[in-house]
């Protein structure tokens, strides 16, 4: 998993819960990296999983909700670091529908070895979109957070429903309806 996911995550934890919480979850996790992350490095996904689980047990917030909040924070990272990418779109549905064919292509130019989830578009109208999320990481709520922020970015909102196709969350259907 790319280092930027770790550094931004720990920054957010520090922001919301203080440096003590960062220290606690890092010390309680068995980390090969010993918690020393740099945005340009690559680390095991299991490290993220441990950090999330420890944070969840200390804060009593579910992992899904943590991921949702983190994703909303992460969108601002995208906004400030890659404004050009967002500027190529003027509609949230269009942007989400092109995750696979455009956004992930751009991501791979910067991070050639990135392991990305797939988003297969099943149905698309001007105001609705159905996509199937597939990833062994089961980070669908991270996706959900990014989607919420995407609508916000374009000054609109949407009802987004998640249907788990697989119980472990590695395959999830996103049903997105843009609010008129």
């Amino acid at each position: 998993m790319k280092g930027i996911i770790f550094t931004e995550f720990l920054d957010l934890v520090e922001d919301k819960f203080g440096l003590e919480m960062v220290d606690t979850i890092v010390s309680q996790s068995k980390l090969e990296s010993e918690g020393a992350y740099t945005a340009i490095g690559t680390y095991r996904f299991s490290e993220m999983l441990q950090l999330l689980q420890n944070l969840s047990s200390h804060t009593k917030i579910s992992i899904d909700d943590l991921l949702l909040t983190y994703a909303e924070h992460f969108f601002s990272v995208i906004e400030s670091s890659y404004p050009g990418l967002l500027a190529t779109y003027n509609d949230p549905i269009e942007m989400l529908a092109s995750i696979e064919n455009h956004i992930h292509v751009e991501v791979r130019k910067i991070y050639p070895d990135a392991e990305l989830p797939t988003f297969v578009v099943q149905e698309k109208t001007a105001n609705s979109l159905t996509m199937i999320y597939k990833s062994s990481r089961a980070m669908h709520h991270f996706g959900l957070g990014l989607m919420n922020k995407t609508f916000e970015h374009f000054n609109s909102s949407a009802e987004i429903m998640l249907e788990k196709i697989k119980e472990d969350g590695t395959e999830v259907k996103f049903i997105i309806k843009k609010n008129e």
Binding site: V26, A36, Y37, G41
Partner: protein, 404 residues
């Protein structure tokens, strides 16, 4: 600050340092990787440049060494590149003046030139455009041009290149040849007509002599002695031979004329006609061994051919039962015919001579020595050959071939 807080901060600091070092290491590795990559790129760039240089110098060589005029024009016809051959040939030099190829167009071929240029733009190329041009020195030259469009990287035509060959000399030769052929045809026709007139003019005094002799015989009936009568008969015979000779010469002179008609000739029919036309004595039988083929050509000539051979076979037969057989074999590119008889035969030493005009081996009034030369002439006309096999006293077989 509590000790606990200090410890937390120290641990955080330690992590930050470790992260910084890791980042520095990653960046070092990356820059090393980039350095290696850029070195590789430099090498392959140098290779590419060398190969481009090599190709351009090859092209430059072709451009200079080609024996034909080579020009490159823009889409409006302005010449933007030309080799020395082109400068010498057209008389224009783009180093000295602007030169649009429209200036080369000879007014009589203008329409053809513009249609061809349209073809070039539409199809991307044209080949063997043959027309006249007018050079700066106002000379009219015949040229043959092959041209094609040059495209930019977006497949848009930006120029055209053409190789212009000077075919003036060739064209002149062609014209000369045509003229000579026409003259030849004319003089052939004149000769044929001349032969006609001459034969007519020659025959009429013969007829007069013949008439005069019969008058002498009538006027002096009972008065002439036997030797005189015999001499008069000999004169009549000679006159007949003379007339036949003249007719045959005329036939011979027309035998070699070109094959005007190329129709299907049914040789079976021709042989029927020949048997009917000739006087075939009762003791001689003519056998056609198998159905003769259909060939292409002039039926009159084929009739002459068979008539001459068969009439020779009849004439020179001394057997009680004369047999004449006509046969053929088919080969991939020609037919080989044979006319054989059981007549007097021809000695080996005369085999070549008999085809020459006026070489009759037997001095008789029926034989003028022209028949076989007509046969030879016709066989030559159909790109065939003629030869014979013969046993004196036993018979003769003539073979000849006719190209399919």
């Amino acid at each position: 600050m509590s000790q606990e807080k200090i410890d937390i901060l120290q641990r955080a600091l330690k992590r930050e340092k470790a992260a910084r070092k890791a980042a520095e290491k990653i960046l070092e590795d990356k820059s090393k990787e980039l350095y290696v990559l850029s070195e590789e790129l430099k090498v392959s760039n140098a290779k590419l440049e060398a190969s481009v240089n090599e190709k351009s110098s090859q092209l430059e060589g072709v451009f200079k060494n080609i024996n034909d005029a080579y020009v490159v024009i823009d889409i409006t016809g302005n010449v933007i590149k030309m080799n020395n051959v082109a400068i010498d040939f057209f008389g224009y030099d783009i180093a000295q003046e602007n030169f649009n190829i429209v200036r080369l167009i000879y007014f009589k071929d203008a329409e053809y030139a513009f249609t061809s240029f349209k073809t070039l733009l539409k199809e991307g190329a044209f080949a063997n455009y043959t027309a006249r041009i007018i050079t700066k020195q106002k000379e009219i030259k015949w040229v043959q041009i092959n041209a094609s469009l040059i495209y930019d990287e977006n497949e848009k035509p930006i120029a055209a290149q053409g190789i212009v060959r000077d075919i003036t000399a060739l064209k002149n030769l062609e014209n000369q040849k045509e003229k000579i052929l026409k003259e030849l045809e004319k003089s052939n026709n004149e000769l044929y007509e001349y032969a006609h007139i001459v034969s007519h003019d020659l025959k009429s005094p013969l007829r007069s002599i013949d008439a005069l002799i019969s008058w002498i015989k009538m006027d002096n009936e009972g008065k002439l002695d036997e030797p005189t009568l015999q001499n008069l008969t000999l004169i009549e015979g000679t006159l007949e031979t003379m007339e036949k000779l003249i007719s045959n010469i005329l036939e011979y002179s027309s035998a070699g004329s070109e094959i005007n008609e190329t129709k299907y000739v049914y040789l079976d029919q021709i042989m029927d006609d020949v048997s009917r036309l000739l006087f075939v004595p009762e003791h001689i039988s003519i056998k056609v061994l198998k159905k003769l083929p259909v060939v292409k050509g002039d039926s009159t000539k084929f009739q002459q051919l068979f008539q001459n051979l068969v009439s020779n076979a009849i004439k020179f037969n001394n057997k009680d039962q004369g047999i004449i057989e006509i046969d053929f074999v088919e080969e991939p590119s020609f037919y080989q015919f044979s006319v054989s008889d059981n007549g007097i035969g021809i000695e080996k030493k005369f085999h070549d001579r008999i085809f020459k005009i006026f070489h009759s081996l037997n001095k008789s009034k029926e034989s003028t020595g022209i028949g076989l030369s007509i046969v030879k002439k016709i066989v030559d006309l159909y790109e065939g050959t003629i030869w014979l096999e013969s046993e004196p006293g036993e018979g003769t077989t003539f073979f000849f071939t006719i190209k399919k």
